[in-house]
Amino acid sequence: MTTLHLVRQSAFATNDFAQCLSVLAHQDAIVFMDDGCYNLKHSLLNSLIERIDNSLALYVIANHAKARAIETLVTINKVSMTEVVELTFNYNKVITWQ
């Protein structure tokens, strides 16, 4: 049982991303989209990258980050919306953090 987490809010503004992290399981994946892209620069991401193993995956919607002038780390996979649709079915369920 795996979960795809769609993170749409900035952790600099709200507590939602922190709540996401508290239920994150080993084989889950996170997609940063909308203002969730700002989390690429948040210190919570460091703790996440420390927790990362081969099974946890991080994605960001490429044009959502680019529109916001956010440089993306190499360890984060840039995806299109079509790939987000694919990911939806690669995981057992989806939680949207908005």
Binding site: T82, V85, T88, F89, K93, V94, T96
Partner: protein
């Protein structure tokens, strides 16, 4: 079989709605069976016929109509949420509801959730 139900809670004048639309359109183009979009909370504002968005802004309502027409995508609005927001759902006077949308109860959400292999909320 990949079947998808989508819940939309943001209004047509929210930029977040563009993301929902892009996601649903990407799913339809990938031949995922999207069994319905359920508009809840401020999402029901999409069915308000009187909404007038500046012509140089994103026309979310027209895009939902287009997906409805091109893919027979079912669009449901929650009647309770709609009436709270001034969208009259009277069968005798339904000119205020955009005809691409079906006025439904929350029972429709139960139906969609039970049938879909994935439920995604925006």
């Amino acid at each position: 079989m990949k079947t998808l139900a989508v819940v939309v809670t943001t209004p047509p004048y929210s930029h977040l709605t563009i993301t929902a639309l892009n996601y649903v359109e990407a799913a339809l183009q990938a031949e995922v069976e999207v069994i319905g979009v359920f508009f809840y909370q401020d999402g029901v504002m999409h069915a308000n016929q009187n909404i007038s968005i500046a012509s140089d802004e994103y026309q979310a309502i027209q895009h939902w109509q287009r997906l409805h027409q091109n893919y027979q995508l079912p669009l449901h609005i929650c009647i309770t949420a709609a009436e709270k927001r001034g969208i009259v759902c009277d069968a005798l006077d339904n000119e205020k509801v955009n005809q691409a949308f079906t006025v439904s109860g929350l029972g429709e959400l139960v139906e969609l959730t039970t049938k879909a292999s994935r439920l995604v909320q925006f």
